[in-house]
Symmetry: C2
Subunit: 404 residues, 2 copies
């Protein structure tokens, strides 16, 4: 028998959302009439923007004819999409070359696969609670050490966020190499101001660390002074890469498209001291282990940058943020402790009477037929919280809040 990657054997059970899906499926099978409302996984419910639909229908027609058929595309993504993204960034004052943008099949893939290009000895810092992919993929890579009784990993450096620190993480107290930051935050829905983010950029710049900035939810920002991109802070060009996604912005959860930005100015080194561009390493990784995002999907994604596309995306976002407002206000009115839901689609609420996350999850599923995500699934600092998604329908959102 061959030997497996032992790190996989350290992972407890399933990926969080797979586990939740199983519990919900089991409940629904036992209670097929139960009017279950899903506010758990951050899945969208509104159809794709009409501009994307039309662009994809056109692209499929092209694939039906020899003259316009497309085979292999560039692994980095088509020019038309990368240039549209670069133009969009430029409008917010961030200058990027198209070859600093890498189109993918979504941020989950990118956040996981990016680890391929870093040394397995890199020390990783992340907020707590946090998107499980950052943790689990570093466990798989051997960077996390061993699982401790409290659910944390011995080799990861945690930056807890909670009401106590206003959900602003403190800088790591030990030397770290990779710092995962996600703002607007999954799961708490909270944000940092430009100054607060700059503290991290300055730290990374000074200490030779790399920020992996996940701005998958930037389109949901409503407040000023909340950066949409880490690169709004100029020094970040040397010490940060950014992940973005069409999933929540344009409803592409089932259509799969995202991109990673790696400026040429982000350098790293081999253990022999040679200096390399991370951009070059990611390109090599993608050219070797990936064969591009479907042409059809790239056309669908590019369509959101047209005037019609932008307007349609705006409507999607406004609809979901309308749900978020209802969720926040209903829960606050009912006396719950609530965060997020202002600059992102997630609402983070404290359980009543300090119940455990999974207990309250089970209660809500069985007694109220509402699916949520137990906060502890995102890390120990999430214990005593649950996450609610505002990406469902308005009707379900109102109905669910009525049940609380």
């Amino acid at each position: 028998m061959i030997n497996v990657n032992d790190n996989f054997l350290k992972l407890p059970g399933s990926y969080l959302f797979t586990e939740i899906a199983h519990r919900v499926a089991a409940y629904k099978e036992a209670n097929p009439q139960a009017p279950v409302i899903k506010m758990g996984i951050g899945d969208v419910t509104l159809p794709l923007p009409a501009a994307s639909i039309m662009a994809m229908q056109k692209a499929i027609s092209e694939m039906a004819h020899k003259e316009s058929f497309r085979g292999y595309g560039p692994e980095q993504g088509y020019d038309f999409l990368r240039e549209a993204i670069a133009a969009e960034y430029k409008q917010t004052g961030v200058d990027l070359a198209a070859d600093e943008i890498f189109i993918s099949d979504g941020s989950k893939s990118d956040c996981g696969n990016i680890g391929d290009i870093f040394s397995t000895n890199c020390k990783v810092a992340l907020t707590d609670p946090v998107y499980p992919v950052y943790v689990d993929t570093n466990v798989m890579a051997g960077r996390a050490g061993e699982l401790l009784p409290n659910g944390q990993w011995s080799n990861l450096v945690y930056m807890p966020v909670s009401a106590k620190n206003g959900f602003v993480p403190e800088l790591p107290k030990e030397k770290v190499d990779l710092i995962y930051l996600c703002f607007p935050n999954n799961p708490t829905g909270t944000t940092l101001t430009k100054d607060q983010l700059k503290v991290f950029v300055d730290y990374a710049h000074k200490n030779g660390a790399l920020i992996l900035f996940d701005s998958a939810y930037e389109a949901f920002i409503t407040e000023k002074d909340v950066p949409h991109s880490i690169f709004e802070i100029p020094e970040a060009r040397d010490c940060a890469i950014e992940f973005r996604s069409f999933s929540k912005t344009a409803g592409f959860t089932g259509t799969r498209c995202g991109y990673t930005v790696i400026p040429h100015t982000v350098k790293a080194k081999g253990s022999d001291g040679q200096v390399v561009e991370l951009n070059k390493l990611w390109l090599r990784r993608q050219c070797t282990k990936f064969n591009g995002t479907p042409y059809i999907v790239q056309r669908g994604a590019a369509a959101i940058y047209t005037p019609e596309g932008k307007q349609q995306v705006r409507q999607l976002i406004d609809y979901y943020m309308g749900n978020a407002k209802i969720i926040r206000e209903s829960l606050l009115k009912a006396g719950f402790e609530v965060y997020g839901g202002v600059n992102g689609p997630y609402v983070w609420m404290a359980t009543p009477n300090a119940q455990s996350s999974w207990d309250f999850f089970d209660y809500l599923l069985k007694e109220k037929n509402i699916v949520t995500t137990p906060g502890v699934g995102f890390g120990p600092s999430g214990e005593g919280f649950i996450r609610l998604s505002s990406l469902g329908s308005r009707e379900n959102t109102i109905e669910a809040m009525g049940r609380f």
Copy 2:
């Protein structure tokens, strides 16, 4: 500065096909009028099967309406596609459960990412010449050792194939863990009989090795006694996994869909001796680092299993194999030493006067305006050979053969 994965720094230059694409682009830019015919990268040229086009148009319409919109799909792929694939296997006498099939965005991703679940200490054996992804991804994982002057890697075990051994690899002479086999073969186009393949299955079975069987080209097989699946050999269920792709079979090179088959009976172990199902590890990997193949694409792929779809795929394959026949016969008539092109879309020819692969590649590009793939790009045993693809148009194929 953070440390990178040093293994990336060992890789010489670019991924093979990226390098070729650059040379060709440079030539075309300098010679925009040159009638360049592409027979290099194995990219298809005929449009998608009409059944796939229709299925995808329907799927896109579904994505335009709230009631039929689909968000996140199961990471393992939709039932409708996995069951269609299982039914297809059953018709060839291979019994698989749908959960032994994992839908992906293509074999290149799977062949590369599969390494995540194996120990980095696994010893790897592969044929020579070989699809560069198997080599490069093991270099990245740290299994390949150091690059030797002859282009081979110090830690990989090579099983050379050539006219001398009738393109039938010999068993490894040392203990190995992972054995990559691709039949019909890329790049040589040659095949093994069931008995010849069984030699490897028996070896793997007896020595606790795992065969990674790539049958991306199985749809092109014309001869009997050439297995379409490793699982036609029953003992392979314990010691093999299989990669398949819609790329060449149905023209999905730019649409991206493939699948990996991992029977529940394939076991492996942790270094503490615990036994695990590889199926479970791959599921965990995909649930954590992948978010599924687009719904639209899965509908397009499933359509090839309908009666119309099967007929249309047959027409595609027959067309390309018609090209292969022309290539083989033209080259044989011109006195060249030729292999392949009977059970697969690649033709493997010896260069005239034992020219080096790259020299003949350059000659063909500049003097004949034909793009090929230099055999040495697939490994040292490919030196003195070039690979020609029969996936182009009939007109270009005839024209190109006229130039030889």
